[in-house]
Symmetry: D2
Subunit: 94 residues, 4 copies
């Protein structure tokens, strides 16, 4: 099971809301809404995506740390941290 | 007409692709895909949104500068720049 | 003269404050301050830099639009917008 | 000892380089360098700060996971993840 298995419903609810925001953007562009107002909505959608990413990452780290507490596999723990750091780097850069 | 009126088709195509990416995220979560792979796709979606925002802003600035070249309304030009700078700030922060 | 010539003193004051924040970070690391507290200060420094960048960009756009209002050089105005959009893209990505 | 104790020299070297970049920005502004060129250097400095933040976070997570592997303190591990997630959120937002 992935780290987000306990919060899967919440993640899906957030994703459906984000899908709604993207469809809202399509309607705005269709109706020739003023650029700056479209951009405000784009920023809100980006923030919603980033906030969901932080929630997913939190669930993942919690899972990794719980696994590390149970097992004694230090090498596997190292591998997981390296992988998580790369994901954080991609998020910070995007 | 908004600044993006000439590139409206391209903007809509990008938004439909972003909607597809968000639906793809829902499928990934539904199928319990590994957290880190979901996060990679979230970063790609955020980048697509930010890149579309820069395109919209470019079209908007082009429009404002063309208007400023035609008219002599310095006060209106000032107002437009202040408005654009606030939109840029929201993008940089999101 | 660059676009920021009117606000040069303010820009320099901000840069000296940012230099102070970076030296503060060096002291924190020297004194083995807890990671999370160092990271909070890194985030504050990044925000100060981004905020100064938005101020510089605002001054630059104001300058470009004022020039466009005075002259009738549409081709030069186009070139300046393209250049500004690329700078905005770099800021949004960083 | 903080999580970065093993890489303290590298962190300090990065911070001195970032301080040099901020002083370079002051010189550029002093010499009235073109806005867009100043902004390119601001973006490079921001990226250097963000990259150092990811390195610090990586060291911190490695430390936390190693501690969790050694001890059996699940409550403390939970607290550390919550704290790290908030730091990640601040970085992503800045």
């Amino acid at each position: 099971m992935p780290g987000y298995s306990d919060t899967k419903d919440d993640v899906q609810k957030r994703l459906r809301r984000i899908e709604g925001q993207v469809r809202g953007l399509q309607r705005m562009v269709e109706e020739d809404v003023y650029c700056i107002d479209v951009l405000t909505q784009v920023s809100a959608t980006t923030r919603a995506l980033q906030s969901m990413a932080v929630e997913l990452l939190d669930a993942h780290l919690r899972h990794c740390v719980a696994d590390a507490t149970r097992s004694d596999d230090a090498a596997e723990a190292e591998r997981l941290v390296t992988e998580a750091s790369r994901a954080i780097e991609r998020l910070v850069r995007s």
